[in-house]
């Protein structure tokens, strides 16, 4: 089932070859490898690659940021490259798949192994959506501590730029970012709260000169892609008439949630409303799609 591409092959990714001695001699893969990598045409999977990496302990903030950015970027035709680990990588892959975009997963293990195994559904979804699964290891090679780091160089090597969504100071995402710098690729970083452990790495990258990303445009500009107004996946704007009228409990709740995500209890206290009433209202608002809940906290969609 797995096939192989050698470094001498014409269809070996050009960008990856540029990393010189670090480029893997062989690449095993699953999925539909395009016929020629340097063929002209915008539909090329290796043409516009963006590496998206993030902490394994992605926070709800990191996940929301990844979903929002990647949905738009992937829908605009940029290929999302990541390492198939749980957390940041998984969020990036699945956002790309959901948006109908292309995505490449670079595995730290033999091509016949799915690691982590419980992400099997995602693995299949990637393949079904014309994505690629790549590894430099053959057969049933089990992932090793060092192979994760080795994998990072391919993730960086394939991509024109690396986007770090969330990372702690000792995160593997920073290794990918340093490879990117070494290969002369662009580094993007999503700013986070200064208190969060998994924002310390991204903030460090910004200090060192990485570009701050606040919206998909920031990255799409780099790829010289015009913003596609029709984004598949989640609806971004809501019809204004749907938004509750001023003064109602719903409106007050939305006012509070715009500032920061809150738990039901905190909303009840802030508005001096009983837990029963607040629960009822929150459920109804969530069903109407005004708000959403994540990790126990509600936020405005």
């Amino acid at each position: 089932m797995a096939q192989v591409v050698e470094i001498t092959d014409k269809k070996y990714p050009k960008l990856l070859k540029e990393i010189g001695s670090l480029a893997p001699k062989k690449l095993y893969y699953k999925g539909n490898w395009p016929a020629l990598s340097h063929a002209e045409g915008s539909d090329e999977i290796f043409e516009n690659c963006l590496a998206v990496v993030g902490s394994r302990r992605l926070t709800s903030y990191g996940r929301r940021a990844t979903e929002q950015l990647i949905t738009e970027i992937a829908a605009a035709g940029v290929t999302i490259v990541s390492g198939f680990m749980f957390g940041g990588d998984e969020a990036a892959h699945s956002a790309a798949v959901k948006a109908g975009g292309k995505t490449i997963a670079v595995m730290p293990c033999g091509i016949n192994i799915i690691h982590p195994e419980y992400q099997k559904n995602l693995y299949n979804e990637i393949l079904e959506n014309n994505g690629l699964i790549i590894s430099e290891y053959e057969g049933n090679f089990l992932p090793q501590t060092w192979s994760f780091v080795q994998r990072d160089r391919i993730v960086a090597g394939l991509s024109k730029a690396v986007l770090v969504t969330e990372a702690s100071l000792n995160s593997g995402s920073l290794i990918t970012a340093s490879y990117a710098k070494k290969f002369g690729r662009k580094v993007f970083s999503v700013p986070g709260q200064i208190f969060s452990e998994v924002s310390k790495g991204t903030i460090k990258l910004i200090k060192e000169g990485a570009e701050v990303v606040a919206e998909a445009k920031d990255i799409l500009k780099f790829y010289k892609i015009l913003i596609n107004p029709e984004v598949k996946g989640r609806p971004t704007s809501r019809v204004m008439s749907d938004v509750p009228k001023t003064g109602t409990l719903e409106e007050k709740i939305i006012d509070w949630l715009k500032r920061e995500p809150m738990e039901a209890d905190a909303i009840a206290r802030a508005l001096c409303v009983s837990a029963a009433k607040i629960g009822t209202t929150l459920s109804l608002m969530q069903l109407k799609g005004f708000i959403n809940q994540d990790a126990g906290k509600y936020y405005v969609e």
Binding site: S60, D265, A275, T280, Q286, A295, G296
Partner: protein
């Protein structure tokens, strides 16, 4: 000379009559023998009886004494036959008539006094049913037996006193039942008023209490899960008479009624540790004893650190959770213990406990979290109606008003609503052999939880959006029924359903 002293044997909650036949043969070598499937405690009774009789200043007869416990094929256990055996021997020495329609039970001490013995309450129930009029039991066990009206319970301090009574020299006065209220720990350790914040969790506990629903609380250490659980007994309605009898029976069988104790009128709050053994928790042993789940009958079983409980125990709880009783089968006997309890479980969201904690960082990776959460068996989670996440409360962020417990609702006020909701339910289920919303089966739901079109639409929409399973769908209806009962209305409205959805099963993954 052959003397028959009637006593009883308790097999689980069932009581059967046992005749203690004492024969003092004038021929043969002196000796003391007990036959009739007696266990070790019964066999050792020989030494206690011999010493106790000597201690009363009576010469122990140098004859061949044989005791038969009839029927001979029922296993007998425990120390309760000390008194009937001693009475049999005394009767042949002192030549007194055995009183009519009487039952004897009690463990002897070497000095001739009687000790508190388990099963007195069960014997009293048996006596009432089968027309026995007099019970002779140790003084400490007399009060519990006297809870049953219409029989005379004689409290016995020692053998001398008893022989005087039986020789009609000095009568013992039958005990007058009195309800013991001191020495009973207050059922609730906390008042709901003392719990700051946690508005939604408190509401969920109220709903759970009102409908008898099982509830699970997931939250970081120190977020107040245990405090909430321990405040729960304070809002539960007291046991009614039938329930009190049921609970007291189980406690009598387990030997858990304290000396001088009376009928159990409070709902039990049992909080076994997660290292408890399976027979200890579920019930069992070679001679089946009731476990914690039966002692929590009609009360609350609080399982703290639920994911730490062994899988085997969780799976064993499934059947009692569904049926409200447990049958323990052994080759020689089959025992049924009621176990209709409210399960209150609490768990940490991840191994380190700080997943989604606002201040502390979780050090677990997603794989560890997945594994940890998978420890709770799915079928058990399926039987839990209310799921809530508990977030730690930072009281420094509270205003003075919010910190002032005077403004918070007390347990007493919540209890009133709960009692009214329960009354509504007992009226509703009069002819259905169930007593709370949590026990409704699908037929009951169809009958008592008719949903208006808009309410059903909300539920359908929610089950799509939140991916509720079919079972969860039914759970939401049950919970909405209870919320409507708390509101004292018959019709389940959109608001009731929407609130119920707050307590739907969730996965607590780091999302």
């Amino acid at each position: 000379m052959l003397i028959k002293v009637p006593s009883v044997a308790n097999l689980g909650l069932e009581t059967i009559k046992v005749d203690v036949e004492v024969n003092l043969a004038s021929r043969g070598l002196p000796g003391f023998e007990i036959v009739g499937l007696a266990d070790k405690a019964v066999a050792e009774s020989k030494e206690r009886v011999r010493t106790a009789i000597s201690s009363c200043g009576i010469d122990f007869p140098a004859k061949k004494i044989t005791v038969n416990l009839a029927p001979a094929d029922v296993p007998k256990e425990g120390s309760l036959y000390d008194l009937p055996i001693a009475v049999g021997i005394l009767s042949s020495i002192l030549q007194f008539e055995m009183p009519e329609k009487s039952l004897f039970l009690g463990e002897l001490s070497f000095d001739g006094s009687l000790r508190h013995t388990k099963g007195a309450f069960l014997m009293a129930l048996f006596a009432k049913e089968f027309g026995f009029l007099n019970l002779f039991v140790p003084k400490d066990s007399a009060n519990e037996a006297a809870a049953i009206k219409g029989i005379k319970v004689f409290p016995i301090e020692n053998l001398t006193q008893l022989s005087h009574h039986l020789l009609k020299r000095k009568n013992i006065e039958p005990v007058v039942y009195k309800e013991v209220l001191e020495n009973i720990p207050s059922p609730a350790e906390f008042d709901m008023k003392e719990v700051l914040g946690q508005e939604q969790a408190k509401r969920a506990i109220e709903i759970a209490a009102a409908g008898g629903h099982n509830i699970i609380m997931v939250g970081s250490p120190g977020s107040g899960k245990t405090m909430l659980a321990r405040a729960l007994p304070g809002i539960l309605p007291p046991l009614n008479e039938t329930e009190a009898l049921e609970v007291t029976k189980i406690f009598s069988a387990a030997g858990s009624i304290p000396p001088g104790g009376s009928l159990m009128t409070f709902r039990q709050f049992r909080a076994p540790h997660h290292t408890a053994s399976l027979p200890g928790l579920i019930g069992g042993g070679s001679k089946p004893h009731p476990g914690e789940i039966s002692l929590a009958h009609r009360g609350v079983l609080f399982l703290d650190e639920f994911n730490e409980f062994p899988r085997s125990i969780m799976e064993a709880m499934r059947q009692p959770l569904e049926d409200g009783y447990l049958t323990i089968s052994r080759s020689k006997q089959r025992v049924m213990y009621p176990a209709d309890f409210m399960l209150v479980a609490s768990a940490n969201p991840c191994p380190c406990g700080y997943l989604n904690h606002p201040k502390k960082n979780c050090i677990c990776n997603q794989n560890q979290i997945r594994k940890y959460q998978k420890r709770i068996s799915g079928p058990i989670l399926d039987r839990i109606d209310l799921h809530i996440a508990i977030m730690p409360v930072d009281t420094t962020e509270f205003s003075d008003n919010q910190k002032n417990t005077e403004f918070l609702e007390s347990s007493q006020a919540i209890k009133q609503r709960v009692v009214l909701a329960r009354q509504k339910q007992s009226k509703r289920f009069e002819n259905d052999f169930i007593h709370s919303n949590s026990q409704m089966k699908n037929t009951h739901i169809k009958k008592y939880c008719k949903l208006a079109k808009d309410v059903e639409a909300i539920l359908r929409q929610a089950s799509l959006k939140f991916q509720l399973s079919a079972r969860s769908y039914m759970k939401m209806i049950k919970v909405a029924r209870t919320i409507a009962d708390l509101d004292q209305v018959e019709e389940i409205s959109v608001n009731h359903m929407a609130e119920a959805l707050q307590y739907r099963p969730k996965t607590y993954e780091q999302a």
